[in-house]
């Protein structure tokens, strides 16, 4: 029989406790595959935020820790400055990165810290069961906006990738979706590039991954993937926003 797929040992055999239909499992698998492909398992240091990705240390077999909500880019700064040969990656949800952690990520990007921020964005605070996030869309029902997000009352949606992209020393910034196989393969390609550009010391790198949260969105897993494709992608266009290694302009 032909071997078509092998689980990378970097992802251990513990069963994920993510909800059915959550794309965090995919994100962790992609990260494990990319670290393995680049041969960086002995150099990787992963720093997770406090959302559902806080569980990642249970599943990834690399040096790893969870840190205080929002502070991962600053912790990563300290790690990378002391160990420039390490691959330093943060995994932070939209709440962690764009709400409490907005200052840390913008300043890390402005300073050009050679770290990679991986942001699974599911437009909600999933770990705490579905409150408003800075990336929640207008009309989105959350536990804090049961009638739907009203821009006048609750503020406008933030596009984290655009915000970070405006900082001076971003070497690579891309946004991908995880709603189907084709998009997931593109996400893997972006992660590979981001990690590679980090190891070349070219500056700050970030990959935003449009992700699902069927539990907090209160819809089925298949509907959640459709929601990403039909509603989230128009609001958060996928593509590479910045790539210092590309020749000519990058088109999103």
């Amino acid at each position: 029989m032909r071997n078509t797929f092998t689980k990378i040992p970097l992802l251990n055999d513990q069963q994920f406790q993510f909800c059915p239909g959550c794309t965090h499992g995919t994100t962790l698998r992609l990260m494990a595959e990319v670290i393995d492909k680049l041969g960086l398992q002995e150099k990787a240091v992963v720093i997770t935020g406090d959302g559902c990705m806080a569980w990642a240390p249970q599943y990834l077999e690399v040096d790893i820790t969870l840190v205080l909500h929002g502070r991962a880019p600053a912790v990563a700064t300290g790690v990378k400055r002391m160990r420039p040969d390490s691959l330093v990656v943060t995994i932070q949800g939209d709440g962690d990165l764009a709400s409490i952690g907005l200052g840390e990520v913008l300043h890390a990007a402005a300073r050009g810290e050679s770290i990679t921020v991986v942001c699974p964005n599911n437009t909600t605070m999933g770990m705490t069961h579905g409150q408003l996030s800075p990336t929640s869309l207008p009309g989105q029902k959350t536990t804090v906006t049961p009638a739907g997000r009203d821009v006048q009352t609750h503020g406008a949606t933030m596009d984290i990738s655009s915000l970070v992209a405006s900082q001076g020393r971003v070497a690579y910034l891309a946004r991908a979706s995880l709603h189907d196989a084709k998009s997931t393969l593109m996400a893997k390609k972006y992660l590979l590039k981001a990690f590679d550009i980090q190891m070349k010391g070219l500056g700050f790198t970030m990959v935003e991954l449009l992700s699902s949260c069927p539990t907090c969105w209160k819809i089925s897993p298949p509907d959640a993937l459709k929601y990403i494709e039909e509603t989230m992608i128009p609001a958060f266009p996928v593509g590479e926003l910045i790539d210092v290694t590309a020749e000519g302009e990058v088109s999103a």
Partner: protein, 365 residues
């Protein structure tokens, strides 16, 4: 000389502290400007990079201590300094670092408070330093230096004890200490060869299993409880072995002054004058504020024969609670508070001591 820096110099305490940290092997510093610590930031900015370290002026203090934590995660010696109100911002990380046993040095050059406060010297952060100030119930070694030389020596010791015990360690100074300029001598820092290896550090899992920090929060509740017991045992051992204090003129005393930092320094003059005049007064000066030298204070009181205690603090009275806890009502305690960034003169302290001696004589008759 150490990388061109003389071993004996006339320096402000802030500069001397930074120099001591560099000599003790500090290789990462993050900080943000706030009076009266800012010279530490500037000394590090100018000197640390050329001596093999990394300096970052952080965007705000929570980011700064996050960076210091990150550097410490890799096993490097790291430090942050600040003052009072911004030390408040860092409390969450002190709880985490204590819980996950990540060592670094934190310096508070305290100012008048509460609130934004003023720029005067204060001991109003004693509670914050020794009772938390972060959440969850943890202990952290806290030093209360009194002179510029002590700032130098205790800074070097702080890095050593941080690594020895896998814990953050705090230097608690004040605006007067920070801005005092004196001759200091830089001795060799404590020998590192006996320190435990940092095999827990996040350096990339090469030829070893991955290091994972923080799993207690993720796995079953019993794990958190077990971890707490481990930490309690460690703090108990620190309590038994790391207390430091100074005794001044304690032989045959009627009155014992308990003070630390700046008021203790000022008090040495009136104590010696009073002794010369025949008054029997001495001083017990805690140097570790946590672990507070409680047993040593009781022993000193009993050995001296003193029947009354005076406490002078640049606060409404915070260390006095540890004095009361230690003495358990053995003798009366007179508290002399100086709030809002004010400081007593030597003769004011002399007056307070004379008042306490008078109370003793009244009680006796």
């Amino acid at each position: 000389m150490h990388n061109g820096s003389p071993d004996r110099a006339f320096m402000h305490a802030n500069d001397a502290l930074a120099e001591a940290a560099i000599r003790a092997g500090c290789r990462f510093y993050a900080g943000y400007p706030i009076t009266p610590h800012t010279e530490i930031l500037e000394y590090m900015a100018v000197n640390l990079p050329s001596r093999g370290g990394v300096f970052i002026q952080c965007e705000q203090e929570i980011a700064g201590i996050s960076m210091v934590y990150g550097a410490a995660l890799t096993g490097a010696r790291a430090m942050i300094s600040s003052s009072s109100t911004a030390i408040s911002l860092m409390q969450e990380w002190l709880s985490v670092a204590s819980a996950l046993e990540v060592p670094f040095v934190i310096v508070n050059m305290a100012r008048g408070g509460p609130g934004l406060g003023n720029l005067g010297p204060s001991q109003g952060d004693y509670f914050q330093a020794t009772r938390g100030g972060g959440h969850g119930g943890y202990r952290m070694i806290v030093f209360g230096p009194s002179t510029t030389q002590e700032v130098v020596d205790l800074t070097m010791l702080a890095f050593h004890l941080a690594d020895k015990w896998r814990s953050p360690v705090m230097i608690l100074g004040d605006a007067a200490i920070a801005t005092t300029k004196e001759t200091v001598v830089f001795s060799d820092p404590p020998d590192q060869s006996e320190l435990p290896p940092k095999d827990w550090a996040l350096t990339g899992a090469s030829e070893r299993d991955p290091n994972k920090l923080g799993l207690e929060s993720l796995v079953e509740p019993a794990a958190q409880a077990r971890h707490n017991l481990h930490l309690l045992d460690k703090w108990d051992r620190i309590q038994q072995t790391e207390t430091r204090w100074e005794e001044v003129a304690l032989d045959d005393a009627d009155l014992l002054l308990v003070a630390y930092g700046t008021p203790a320094r000022i008090a040495k003059t009136p104590i010696l004058h009073l002794r010369e005049g025949g008054a029997k007064v001495g001083m017990f000066r805690p140097i570790t504020l946590w672990p507070f030298p409680s047993q040593e204070l009781v022993a000193a009181l009993e050995r001296s024969g003193a029947r009354r205690v005076a406490v002078i603090e640049l606060s409404a009275g915070q260390m006095v609670e540890d004095v009361r806890l230690a003495l358990e009502g053995r003798v009366p305690i007179d508290l002399h508070p100086y709030v809002g960034g004010t400081m007593p003169t030597a003769s004011q302290i002399g007056n307070h001591l004379e008042d306490s001696l008078l109370s003793l004589r009244e009680v006796a008759t």
